[in-house]
Amino acid sequence: MTQAFRIENGGLINRDKKLSFKFNGKTYLGYEGDTLASALLANGVHLVGRSFKYHRPRGFFGAGVDEPYAVVQLYRNGETEPNIKATEQELFEGLEAKSVNCWPSVNFDIGAINNFLKIFLPAGFYYKTFMWPKSFWYRIYEPFIRKAAGLGVASTKHDKERYEHKYEYCDLLIAGSGPSGLAGAYAAAKNGAKVILAEDKPRFGGSLLTSDVNIGNQSGKDWAEGIIAELKTMPNVVVKNRSQIFGYYDHNMLVMSEKVSDHLPSTKKYHPNKRLWYIRAKEVLISSGSIERPIVFGNNDTPGVMLSSAAKEYLKVYGVLVGRKPLVFTNNDSGYETAIEFKKHGVDPVVLDSRKNPESEIIDEAKNLGINVKNSYVVVAAQGYKKVKSADIASISEDKKQLGKIENIQCDCICVSGFWTPTIHLASQSGNKTKFKEEIDAFVPGQSKQNEITLGAANGVFSLEETLKTSFTAGSELSKKITENDNKVAIPNVVEKKSSQHDKFWCVPLPKGKNYKRFLDFQNDVAVSDVEIALREGYRSIEHVKRYTTLGMATDQGKTSNLNGLQLVSEIENKVVPAVGHTTFRPPYTPVSIGAIVGREVGKHSKPTRKSPMHSWHEKNNAVFVDAGVWLRPRYYKRGDENLFEGSKREAKNVRANVGVCDVTTLGKIDIKGPDAAELLNRVYTNAWLKLPVGKARYGVMLREDGIVMDDGTTTRISENHYHMTTTTAQAANVLSHLEYYLQLVWPELNVNVVSTTEQWAGAAIAGPKSRDLLQKLFPNSDVSNEGLPFMGYMEGDLFGAKARIYRISFSGELAYEVNVESDYGNFMWEKIMEVGEEFKIQPYGTEALSTLRIEMGHVAGSELDGRTIPFDNALEGLVSKKKDFIGKRSLQRSAFIAEDRQRIVGVVPLDKQTSIPEGSHLVKDDKAPLPNPKLGHISASCWSVEYDNPFSLAILKDGKNMIGQKLFAMSPLKNKVIPVEIVSSHYVDPKGERVRS
């Protein structure tokens, strides 16, 4: 069977290019320009999937974004993607797709047993059933539901495709390239406005591609092609097909997903798979058209039942007959247009019209062609399991309550038209409060909220003439406001057939004794009876009905089901539809690939990577790196096959014994200048700063206004009005903002300027008993003796020609210095230090050794300054001035902060001197106490003390001041450890601080 349902001529496909593809393992042929759906239909394949709940056979219902059934798993170029609509997926050579939600196969699906159990699976079934027994939830119910739910399988592989983000600005953004969008774009473009015209389908033109109309002596399709061709030549216009505007956000920001490569067998080199456009538009024209809605009848989900507009599109765009014995079921004139197309291609349709005596040009044309039209007739139920075989039809009374005698007629498809629903999603997302338009039984946009206007069918206007007139005018007017040009565009003549009023009829009553499933929401298997149950059980708000029944909740978000659902609720509740209201339209309009949302920010691009100027040296010398915020820092320098523990221990020992060098470039550095610089520091830090002499550094702690420690670091007075502040690596950006806040908003009278110089200086910490000897050799002309450069002293020096700043400060607790040079000389400095340091047995040390050194000295860092501690907790109360005021001082008087048993930093040693205590362990009095075992404190940092060769930890402990000498337990349920410990002083090594001053 090769494309048996393809008509000989016609359609917009390229018949010169045949494409081969696979569906459920079977090979088929289609043409370039096909969708997967049209190519399958050309081959007579109607069964594409199984329904969500009952696993009923499902076919194709639409021809585009509204499709509720034909959701497939796509395989392309070694990748797989779930939840692809076959009606949107363009065919390419080698395409492979599979049905979802069926096992073992779409033809024989074991889950279809649910169809016979359907009386046991009503609305709220899951909520009611899986409540008890409670213990069953994790073991039985949840795994079962998880397996049953979902439509496809996400790939577990890394996505090789690339996705891009683009930011764009325009005067006029137009969503949809139907008649309204084209007219608006053309008029605005002629006024010189910057226009972006977006079309979600591959072809421009919207309804003009399938409707039988003339615009200015051309067919609608040709007119559309002409306009698009001209727009493409204009430099101020961007036209984009395969591009869906899916969200309307604040301040006229709209987001569009452009499918760049989905229609190709593989993505071209340097091309993205998808491109996400963030568009800030001055004006927005929403010309998103409308979607046909179904009429509800028995078994209306049988494959072969589809929207009449879809049948017409398959015929006119793809040259595909969806059946050879079509039955058209309509309540308006649109069904006739489809019937006429069938008839023109030699197929005899039967039209059932629910109206009694409709009259219009279109109906006359149909009758003149000899089409069999039955008025006051409806489809009661479709017959056939995997495909429509016949239909039960009957006449219907004028009040639409009584059915006549049921007749059965043969047919192989049922094309349904229940009139049109304007696509108001974008307008609603913009904040526009929609209103109900009685004449069309649907909601349309109300008062504009942002700079948006909705025209054409999206606004409930189905006359082409009126649509073109309003859209040309709107395009001119909107652009005139922006460009101040006023180039008049002639509005072309329109020839279209006049339609008659549609019938306010949407649901066929059940015949006596029959219990057909009549589906409202096809993707989620929500039937009329489900909504009835929900209302009977007391659900009133439409939002609750939606969530209880899942009506409108699937990937198609109820594009075809919402209004019929509202009609049903309004009927049962005896309310008008606008009183029921509709559920909220939220972005995205249609599913957007997660990859497109993430864009390029994946893997190493998920955040910037900052490297010090000495990075390449570290790499060459076997550094093992660790993420420190966005910085990469050496954790340790691996020698041979030593591990982190052995390596860091060796490095830390060498600092204590000889001398080590550590890259401290990542520390935040802020240059502070101005006559009031000292005053600023005095207000920002807890200690006194007004009397710091030039050439001296001081350690300072800064608080937030709530009294919590924000950061610590040393600040050095470089000259009279010039200070160099350092911050921790993590808080660098926050501290700068903090200073700017106070200077700009709170104390603008202070004459101070602050600027970040983190990137301008490369820093090396030289630490250890031999560091002075090394420094003397690095700076032979400087006096770096204990008198010349005392503890917390500062001097400038000449490092073999490079200007250097030398600070005598220490984080390791050893005699230590920090040398800064301009970043460009960073590597030069490092190599010199290593070269000159060789005779002193210098070794570089990483962050792990750095931590070890500071922990056993009891120096606090980020794990103690964790946003929950005040100066007292960190034994820093000596740095809190009693004389002056500073940021956060008043908060330190809070009763909790001055409580007698306030938490405080302590040292912790395991009794066995062997077992390392996991960081985060809780300290408790009694390891056998019933849960929750009262927590006295927690381990903030752990190391292996190289001084004493046993584990040592710091902890923040309740009443820590009075706990020294106590025996407690460190418990880590995560690591399943209970360790008996002793509380000691946090200053484990050199408690008097003699080494730094030596």
């Binding site: 930011y167 956000y249 604040d250 301040h251 006229n252 920001m253 963030y278 800030r280 904040g431 207000r683 206004e705 709530d706 950006a733 903002s737 700017e740 806040y741 700009q744 908003l745 709170v746 603008p748 002056k884 005021d885 500073f886 008043r890 908060s891």
Partner: protein, 89 residues
């Protein structure tokens, strides 16, 4: 995403800014006696208004200036923006 008129740089997207809270809060003067209530109001208590709200934003990825923005917290409409030292009438 909001579109904020930085009084120094012009219209810029929200992702260049960082939010700084209620702009009407005045820090008590330094070295002055402050009651517990006054201090609590300054540090903790905020009104969480629905409607027009004067708030602080910092143009961190731009000019780094702190600015005041008059914004409706319900609709996100921005009425006016001010430099840090501009008086809000």
């Amino acid at each position: 995403m909001l579109y904020i008129n930085c009084p120094h740089c012009g219209m810029r997207s929200q992702n260049e800014f960082s939010y700084g809270g209620d702009a009407s809060v005045k820090r008590p003067e330094l070295n002055k006696e402050v009651s517990d209530q006054e201090w609590d109001n300054f540090v903790y208590n905020r009104k969480s208004l629905r409607g027009k709200h004067l708030e602080l934003w910092q143009h961190i990825s731009g000019c780094r200036q702190w600015i005041k923005v008059e914004r409706d917290t319900a609709t996100h409409e921005i009425f006016r923006t001010f430099k840090a030292d501009e008086e809000v009438a």
